[in-house]
Symmetry: C2
Subunit: 433 residues, 2 copies
C-alpha cells in the first residue's frame, strides 16, 4: 500500500459525468490497495463566474472607467476568497458523494477543516502549515480524503485562497506533508511535451523531466503546472506525475501508471533521469512586449533611473539589452515586459522622461521569446552557438538573448516564432522518431 | 441606537443589482445609527442547481428507477450540506463587498466562523448554540455583520444546514441571541395578508399578527415564513417584521419602518395587538389528498392498524374522520395526507389490506383545505357555526372538519376552494374597506 495524492483540475471535473470519470480513476487506485487523498479544483467555468460576481459587486468596471482605465482592484481579498473558494467546496462534496455511490468510503475536507494554514496574503496566500494526522489516519483506514484545493485558512479564522492554479500547490503540499509516494496531477493533456504539439506535430511526450527544467518550461509558457507547485515539489522532493484524466480509468489494461511505463510525465529530481538529453524542450512565449529607449546617456545610474519607477509600479522586467555605445555618450536600451503591462510601462517612462533623459521611446508587441531548456547544457559547451547558427541559417534575427545554467532564450520577430521553434526542435534531436 | 437583524431571501439577492438594492436598505438603517446584522440566502436558483448536482452525483434518478419509483435519498447529508451551503457563502461575501464599495465597514460570517452550532441532523439540523460576543462587539463598533443564513457547524467540525427556508430561522435565532430590537424579514411580498390576494382582491395586509396565528397561517400554506422560525420567535419573544425588499430603500420619504407605521406586518405577542379581530386570516391549501377506506371493521385497534404502517413509512396524516357505523359492524374511514405522499400511502395500505381488512380503498387529490384563523376565537363562541352556515348557503359540502383553539379547518371539493375563501373572507369582516 502506498499513500497517493491525486489532483484533478477544472476541466476534469467540469460536470457530473466528468466527476464520475474522476471517481473511476480513484477507484482503480483504491482497488489496488492505495490510500488516496484527492485534491479537486472548481468545476470549469465556476471560478470565472464567481470572480465576475466579485468584480460586479465591487463595481470594478465603473471604478476603472472613473480612474481613466487604471484598474483599482482594491477590494477586500478576504471577501473575494470567501466567494471564490466556494467553487472547490462544491466539487469536493460532489466527488465524495460519487465515491460513496460507488461503495467507497469518502469525505470532503475544506481548507479550514484540515486545517491548511496560510498567511494573510488573501487571493495569493502562501501555505504556512498543514495538519495531516487525522487525514492520514482516516486514509490508512480506507477512507478517501476529498480535499477542496486552492483554499486554506488564514489567521483571524478567514478563508484564504492560493491564487490561480493554486490547487496544484495544495496537492504538492499535501503530498509533502503526508510523505506520499507520488502526487498525480490529472489534467487535460497526457504529459509534458518537448514543445507545443500544435506548433510542432513531431513533438513528443517526455517520460521524465527534472524540476529545474519543468520550472523553466512552466515560466516559459508551458502552462501545465503552476510554477509555485513545481518549486514546492523541488524543495520537498515530491515526485509529481502529470497525466491525463481523459485516459481510460482502467488504463487500457495496464495495471499501473508507473513512471516510465508510458503514461504521463514524471517531474522528479534529475538523478532519477537516466537518459539525459542536452536539451529537453523548446518553450515559447508570445505574451511579452519590447520597450526601447533611444539615445539615453551612457553613464552610471541611468539604468536605475529607468527600472526603479517600473519596479515601483509593480511591472516585472524580463530581458534587458544595452547596446554598446558608439560615441561613449549615448546608447539604446531595450527590455521586455508582459504585454499586459506595456501601456502602463510606457506611461511610467513618459512621466520619468526628464529624470532619465532619452530621445525617443518605443513599444512593440510583435515579438516572441523562444527558449531551449535542458539540464544537460550544464555539461555541454556550444549549445548557444549551435542555436544561434541554426536561427541565422533560417534568416531569423535575434533581438536579445538571456541565459541561465539550463536555459537559453532569444527574443525574435513574432512572425518567425513557429519557424524558430521547429528549427530548434529538430536541431536538438527532439523530433519524435 | 438599536441592534437590528435584517434577513433577505433568494429573490431579494437574485443578482448583483438586487444585492445593491439590499445594500441600500442596510445603508438606511446604518445611517439611522443602528447596529446591523444581515442574514442572506443563496441567490435565487442557486440552491436548486446545487441540489440537482447532489442528486446527479448520487445517481438519484437511476436509483429511483431501479427501486421501482421508491426514492432512496440515503446520500450523505454531510456532503449535501457542504455543497448546498456554498450558495449562502457566495451571497454573504458579495453583499459584504457591495457594502464596502458604498463606504461601510462590513464582513461576511459563515456558520462555522460565528460559530452557529447545530446538532448532527444534517440537511435539517437544529440550532444548539450561537456565540455572538464577537459579532455584537464588532456590530456596536459600526461593522455590519453579513451572515450566511441556512448554515451552521455540527459536532465533528462539519458544515450543517437548517432545511429549506432555514435562513429565516438563522435570522430569528441571531436576533434572540443578540437581544435585537427587531428581526426584519425582507421578502418579495410586503407583509402577511388576510388571505391570498390572487384569490381575494379585497384581501389586505395585516399590520400585526400574533405568533400563534402566524404559525397557523404558515402551516396552512401562507408561505411567507418558515414555520420553525415562527416557533422560535414565539419561544424567544423576537419581534419579526415581514416586509418587502422591493420597497424603495428610502421608504418613499418615511424615516422609519416602525411597526404600525404602515410598512410590513409585525409578528409579535398577541398582547401587542390592540385591535383584535375574531378571525385574522383565511388560509387554504391544495396540496393535500384524501384517502378513504370503505367498510372497515368498527372495533378497537383498527385505527392503529391503519395509521401505524403509515407512520412507519414517514407519512404524515392530517385530518381524520370516521363515520358513525350504521350497523355497528362496519364503517368508513377518511383521512388526508400530503399529495406528494398519496401514492406511497395507497401502496402501504394495499400491502396491509389483510391485517386491516377493508372492502375498498380510494384516493383523491381533488380536495382543498380552507381554514379560518384568529386568536379572537378563544373568547368568541359560534365562529364554527357561522362558518358552516355560510358555506352551506353557497352549497359547499364539508367533507371533514378539524379545529384548534384558534383555527377551524374544513375539507371541501377543490372546485369550491376560491368561493369558500372569498365567502369566509367577507363573512369575518376582512374585506378591505
Amino acid at each position: 500500500m502506498a499513500l497517493l495524492v491525486l489532483k484533478f483540475g477544472g476541466t476534469s471535473v467540469a460536470d457530473i459525468d466528468r466527476i464520475r470519470n474522476v471517481a473511476a480513476h480513484v477507484k482503480r487506485e483504491v482497488d489496488d490497495g492505495h490510500a488516496c487523498a484527492v485534491v479537486v479544483s472548481a468545476m470549469a467555468g465556476q471560478t470565472n463566474q464567481l470572480v465576475a460576481w466579485v468584480e460586479q459587486a465591487w463595481g470594478f468596471k465603473e471604478r476603472q472607467k472613473k480612474n481613466g482605465g487604471e484598474a483599482s482592484a482594491q477590494y477586500d481579498g478576504r471577501e473575494y476568497d470567501a466567494v471564490v473558494s466556494s467553487g472547490e467546496q462544491v466539487t469536493s462534496g460532489l466527488l465524495a458523494l460519487v465515491l460513496q455511490s460507488l461503495g467507497m468510503r469518502a469525505r470532503s475536507w475544506q481548507g479550514w477543516q484540515i486545517p491548511l494554514h496560510t498567511d494573510t496574503a488573501h487571493r495569493a496566500a502562501r501555505i504556512t502549515g498543514l495538519a495531516v494526522d487525522e487525514l492520514r489516519a482516516r486514509m490508512t483506514e480506507g477512507e478517501v480524503a476529498v480535499i477542496a484545493g486552492f483554499q486554506g485558512i488564514a489567521p483571524g479564522n478567514r478563508i484564504s485562497t492560493l491564487g490561480r492554479g493554486g490547487s496544484d500547490t495544495s496537492a504538492v503540499a499535501l503530498a509533502a506533508a503526508l510523505g506520499a509516494e507520488r502526487c498525480d496531477i490529472y489534467t487535460d493533456v497526457d504529459g509534458v511535451y518537448t514543445t507545443d504539439p500544435r506548433v510542432v506535430p513531431k513533438a513528443h511526450r517526455l517520460d521524465r523531466i527534472s524540476y529545474e527544467e519543468m520550472l523553466e518550461m512552466a515560466s516559459q509558457g508551458a502552462k501545465v503546472l503552476q510554477t509555485r507547485s513545481v518549486e514546492l515539489a523541488m524543495q520537498r522532493g515530491v515526485r509529481v506525475l502529470v497525466r491525463s484524466s481523459f485516459d481510460p480509468p482502467d488504463l487500457g489494461g495496464k495495471k499501473h501508471a508507473e513512471p516510465g511505463g508510458g503514461l504521463g510525465t514524471l517531474v522528479c529530481h534529475e538523478d532519477e533521469i537516466v537518459e539525459q538529453n542536452v536539451v529537453s524542450g523548446i518553450a515559447y512565449a508570445r505574451d511579452e512586449a519590447k520597450v526601447t529607449l533611444l539615445k539615453i546617456a551612457d553613464k552610471p545610474g541611468v539604468a536605475a533611473q529607468v527600472f526603479c519607477p517600473l519596479a515601483e509600479a509593480n511591472i516585472n522586467v524580463d530581458m534587458i539589452v544595452q547596446n554598446v555605445s558608439e560615441d561613449g555618450r549615448y546608447t539604446d536600451l531595450t527590455f521586455t515586459v508582459q504585454s499586459a503591462d506595456l501601456d502602463r510601462a510606457l506611461e511610467v517612462l513618459r512621466k520619468a522622461k526628464d529624470q532619465i533623459g532619452y530621445l525617443d521611446l518605443r513599444g512593440s508587441t510583435d515579438i516572441a521569446k523562444v527558449s531551449a531548456i535542458g539540464v544537460g547544457m550544464r555539461s555541454h559547451a556550444g549549445v548557444a552557438a549551435q542555436m544561434f547558427s541554426a536561427l541565422a541559417e533560417k534568416g531569423i534575427n535575434i533581438e536579445a538573448i538571456s541565459t541561465s545554467e539550463i536555459k537559453i532564450s532569444v527574443l525574435i520577430d513574432a512572425a518567425y516564432a513557429e519557424l524558430a521553434v521547429r528549427t530548434l526542435h529538430s536541431l536538438f534531436g527532439l523530433d519524435s522518431r
